[in-house]
Amino acid sequence: MSADAATDELATATTAEDVRPDDGILAVESLRKEFGGLVAVDDLSFAVQEQEILGFIGPNGAGKSTTFNCVTGTYPPTAGTVWYKGEQVTGTPPHKMVKRGMARTFQSFAPLEDRTVLKNVALSMMNDTLVTVEGLLGEFHDEARAICERVGLDDRLYQTPAELPHAGMLRLELGRALGTDPDLLLVDEPFAGLSGPEVESVSDLLLDLRDEGMTLVVVDHNMRGLLQLIDRAIVINFGSLLANGSPDEIKNNPDVQEAYLGGGLE
């Protein structure tokens, strides 16, 4: 198939420089993930610097979510290495990655429908201990309330996720992630379905978080609202690295325009 040929060409065209464990807070070397015979991520290497906001961009089906599922431990990668804070963490299960300080939001929002916003956030602040008397008296609620306020949900503490508007769900996702007190936050498709002003206010929140010392990786398939937010972008297509650079470089990269915008998209 012609698409495959194009992929190979692109992969060889942009050879990734060697990535070392201490290249950044997160370093990924030669990551590969296959499902059955299908290659979803193909020899992908990149690094994320501390306290930057990195855009991770690619069209639908480019392998963005798979990459992050491998990084966060949801799937074990077929091959490749992941370092986090200088430690090798390849294949570490998700909850352990969270404990190491890596949090994520879900593209398809996954709130717990059975409980209030406040309790959704409180869950992520709980200790991973089996038997405890904690919670019997509602210990977490003050801190959880503070986080809700932070993400702009202070007036919706006692609503269930089903009552939240689309943007509210995103805020809840962010709140839950913040509840784990992360150093690196992966934000999956934050702007999908948001109106202009909403995009702006979420951007502000993310920028604030960065200013407080957090590192952010924002995954999105279109660039609306993204280029103003990010410091640097990585573009992938068909599971391979396509471009890496500042927003302006990305915008003007012919490969990106060809593969990403050329097919009539935007």
Binding site: G193, L194, G263, G264
Partner: protein, 251 residues
């Protein structure tokens, strides 16, 4: 876009083609639990038209498509071929010629291409002619007639889904995100196919996130945001709209 007026008068005002109104959506509300997915949508499609509904993820496009094809209960009124269809099951709508190609395609994965197409005629019967048309439209399908649907690529599956819908001789075809996740090359085939289907006289409602693609095909475009239609007009009119340019055309 006004709401609240009767669908017939509205159809008369809005319809720009000579065809009679085949579908009128009037003040439709849909909610999932406490979340409002559609918030008073009005839409009118004349016979033979290709109308597109665009909008970002989560705007309510699929909800609209599913309400029209009978999969979701709604408040308000949807009128197809002169009848209110609120109580009508999706299968009966198929018999009446209203067919959806869903976003997930919903093919019979463990059946061959041919069996999938064959099942497309479940409510019609005699199909040799239509099969010929489908194979002519998407020659790949004929090449892969014995292959199981689940083993095909996304684009081929999309062709099969459209082909299967055509087999039941639709009057109104609702296409939900036919371009989702497709490689540009395949996109061209689909694009061409849609044009030819319209040429055959099939009315099409195209729900699409890919704005450029929708602009290239539609007679009229509706922009759906947060469950409401916020802009409406011909592709040319909307290309000049600042809001659209800024938000959707990478302006």
């Amino acid at each position: 876009m006004s709401s609240g007026t009767g669908s017939e008068t509205e159809a008369a005002v809005d319809s720009r083609t000579s065809g009679e109104s085949i579908l009128s959506v009037d003040d439709v509300h849909v909610s999932y639990g406490k979340v409002q997915a559609l918030n008073g949508v009005d839409l009118d499609i004349g016979s033979g038209e290709l109308i597109s509904v665009i909008g970002p993820n989560g705007a309510g496009k699929s909800t609209l498509a599913n309400s029209i094809s009978g999969f979701l209960p709604y408040d308000g009124s949807i009128d197809y071929g002169g009848d209110e269809i609120e109580e009508v099951a999706p299968e009966s709508l198929v018999e009446r010629g209203l067919i959806q190609c869903t976003e997930k395609r919903d093919l019979f994965g463990f059946m061959s291409v041919e069996d999938n197409l064959d099942l497309g005629t479940y409510v019609r019967g005699d199909y040799a002619e239509r099969l010929e048309f489908v194979y002519d439209l998407f020659p790949t399908l004929e090449e892969r007639r014995d292959q199981h649907a689940h083993t095909m690529s996304g684009g081929e599956q999309q062709m099969l889904a459209i082909g299967r819908a055509l087999m039941s001789d639709p009057e109104l075809l609702v296409l939900d995100e036919p371009t989702l996740g497709l490689a540009p090359v395949i996109l061209d085939d689909i694009s061409e196919g849609i044009d030819r289907i319209q040429d055959e006289g099939v009315t099409i409602l195209l729900c699409e996130q890919n704005v450029t693609f929708a602009m290239n095909h539609a007679d009229r475009i509706n922009l759906l945001e947060n469950g409401e239609i916020v802009r409406q007009g011909s592709p040319d009119e909307l290309r000049d709209d600042d809001y659209i340019r800024e938000s959707y055309l990478g302006g």
